[in-house]
Amino acid sequence: MEHPNATRMRRTVGAFVSGDIPGLLRGFADDVVWYAPGDTPVSGTFRGHEGIVRFFSGLDEGSGGSMDVEVDDVLAGDRHVTVFLNISADRHDERVSVVVAQVASVDDRGRWDRCWFLPDRLPEWNRFFAGASSGQR
């Protein structure tokens, strides 16, 4: 039987994929901290629900709404969860295709309170989203 935190994480990812922002935010603690690598509009430390919305809106905007997200695997314990996501997006003649390990710690109410967003091929990810920030969409 799947760990409840794995089921919760699948629900959170599903909410993002379907554009269900309230459903997405229900998964996160009010004071969530979200770490994303690189040097793009979707890089840095994002705090609180406002930060989560800003991060995911940035992904959607930067990919021109083309982002495809598939859950490949979920690892879950009582305190941490990691979901491995196959993420791809296209913008004009550019394409990004990465495996993202999205790592989260769990607060005492079962909500994500610290999250790390780890694309495996960071240079490729940076190039794609840096282009978006410089008006190359």
Binding site: P37, V103, L122
Partner: protein, 131 residues
């Protein structure tokens, strides 16, 4: 829930890493391992193959005079993937590193590490430490 066999295997690998016996680390790595070091510092980049990764480990040990230690807060693993929440501390001259690293691993069919990538909770501190 029973612990997956790859969890104690990774715990053992971290102990070996902390001991500095890098030749013994070979047993945990696939020959064609790819090790991604993120950030924006002199160690950033991709290391391909066991020898390159061990060279990176030795470089880290030399630059930190053997002070870098990793302590797993939690290890998650199944047959294909692993994830480690690691408290990393090190000293380098007057600089100190104290961060939590979220690490992701893909595993081959023998449980050996085939790809590694990670992100710290304070990447700027990591960049400053290595630069």
């Amino acid at each position: 829930m029973a612990e997956h066999p790859n969890v104690p295997r990774i715990r053992c690998a971290l102990d070996v890493y902390n001991s500095g016996d890098y030749d013994a680390m070979k047993a945990f790595m696939a020959d064609d391992i790819v090790w991604h070091v993120g950030g924006n510092h002199e160690m950033s980049g991709d290391y391909h193959g066991v020898d390159a990764v061990l060279g990176y480990f030795r470089d880290v040990r030399r630059k930190t005079a053997g002070t870098l230690q990793v302590e797993a807060e939690e290890i998650l693993a199944n047959d294909r993937h692993a994830s480690i929440f690691t408290h990393v501390t090190a000293h380098r001259d007057v600089r100190t590193l104290d961060v939590v690293l979220a690490e992701a691993l893909t595993l081959d069919d023998r449980g050996r590490w085939s790809e590694y990538w990670a992100l710290a909770n304070d990447q700027e501190a990591v960049d400053a430490f290595w630069t």
